[in-house]
Symmetry: C2
Subunit: 294 residues, 2 copies
Amino acid sequence: MSPRPFADRLAALVEERQSQVCLGLDPDPSRLDRDSAAAGGSVAERAADAVAAHCRSLIQRAGPVCVAAKPQLACFERLGPPGWAALNSTVAAAREAGLVVIADGERGDVPVSAAAYAQALFGSTPTPWGDVAGLEVDAATASPLLGSDSLEPLIEGAAEAGAGLFVLVRTSNLGAADLLDLPAPDAPLFERLAALVAGLADRLMGECGLSGTGAVIGATEPRHLSRLRELMPRSIFLVPGAGAQGGRAADLGPAFGEHPGSVLVTASRSIAGAPDPAAAASELRAELWALAGG
Amino acid sequence: MSPRPFADRLAALVEERQSQVCLGLDPDPSRLDRDSAAAGGSVAERAADAVAAHCRSLIQRAGPVCVAAKPQLACFERLGPPGWAALNSTVAAAREAGLVVIADGERGDVPVSAAAYAQALFGSTPTPWGDVAGLEVDAATASPLLGSDSLEPLIEGAAEAGAGLFVLVRTSNLGAADLLDLPAPDAPLFERLAALVAGLADRLMGECGLSGTGAVIGATEPRHLSRLRELMPRSIFLVPGAGAQGGRAADLGPAFGEHPGSVLVTASRSIAGAPDPAAAASELRAELWALAGG
């Protein structure tokens, strides 16, 4: 039996919770309280335990008004093996809170290595001693720099697992203009990437009309949104950069397609750093739901 | 005191060993013998132990005729926390064999996340309980898709650690043509990337005249090599795709600059899969050394 497509699972959750908020988890151990880790264990273990507890707490507080959680993988990797264990624990906490989990690692590599990333993210790895489960996340971010054959194993792995893939199309950082906005030759490179994503939409299509072949589109350049929606009518947009990076949720109207689940807006620092994370997430949720015509 | 630059450490090793061979480590646990893991522990732990032992054995056999080892991170990540521990152990084994270690993860992200990757790869992460050391590798591969500000924290982290950074410029897979060969608008995108790399060369310059701001250039399209060398006269080229992917070492002459350390050729399956890995590495070493005019 095929697993239920990511797009359908997300779309149902968006309608149920009337929310398009994705909780970004970018834990910085240097900002945690010294008292937040139990005594004992190595420094890495203590830091990883504190990071896992911090993420779990954020998920418990802000999770109920969100639909997704997006752990940023580097923030866990930098703590070594205990950091990877904290990532597993954070994925589990998000799932318990009913959130879809988007692993944000922006992976991309030649096909044989991309297949290994697919196992790490969506599937499992066969070994002579049995299968080793990967993160088993609901979706992941991916870099398309190496072209379509590099995305293929990730799409394939996502399809088998009923997962989604958010391909970087126009990111939120200033330097994105260096390459993604280059005319290549007749239209910006990001339009080429959008066409690549649209061409893969059928592969992760849900019954709701949305595709789990999604796109990462920064909130910092809202003038591109309507063109990108036109080029990728079915794709779910994962939109970072509202809040701390200067983008404004109010400008995101043109990002929406017909379905309220067509956009997820990620917020990290603006939720985690707020005095009341649940209130900050709630406010963003209401603003977006109004935009989506909910 | 500043650490000795990567370019100088590598250049000295290349001259000492008369070798430009980089041992690619892409361990696939499904190909290992069932007897290669000790009994006990979880499936992931057994598989990770077997992977670490396999890599250590390859390093011991082929390492003496190589100058670098390049673990492919996905192959370790897919085994979870024990996989990350096996990566640490593989990095240590390569260092004991006198090799420089290149972490092949093709990371690239917005600046705040790129800084976290720099900590994971080259530096350490401050926490209230002390610093957590990262992989502390000698170099890493990086994706430039997000533009110059996304590379900046990786270059900065590499500079502080005396490490190198190999930026993807023209990869070895077929799909590389989809984007990297696009005219953007007057020259292929990869030439833009080459200019970006050349512009960062001073930041990791060694006294030997080579820069640790390197480039990943696939062996599968040798017609681009002389132009890329012209655009990046000081950069060390990391060249995958000779051997199993169809590129030929004999075609790599135009990749070389003035210094024999200006090119590293990675070989994974063609060494690991050979009946005698040391002999396979030796053969490649001799072929390259002759090409470099050694």
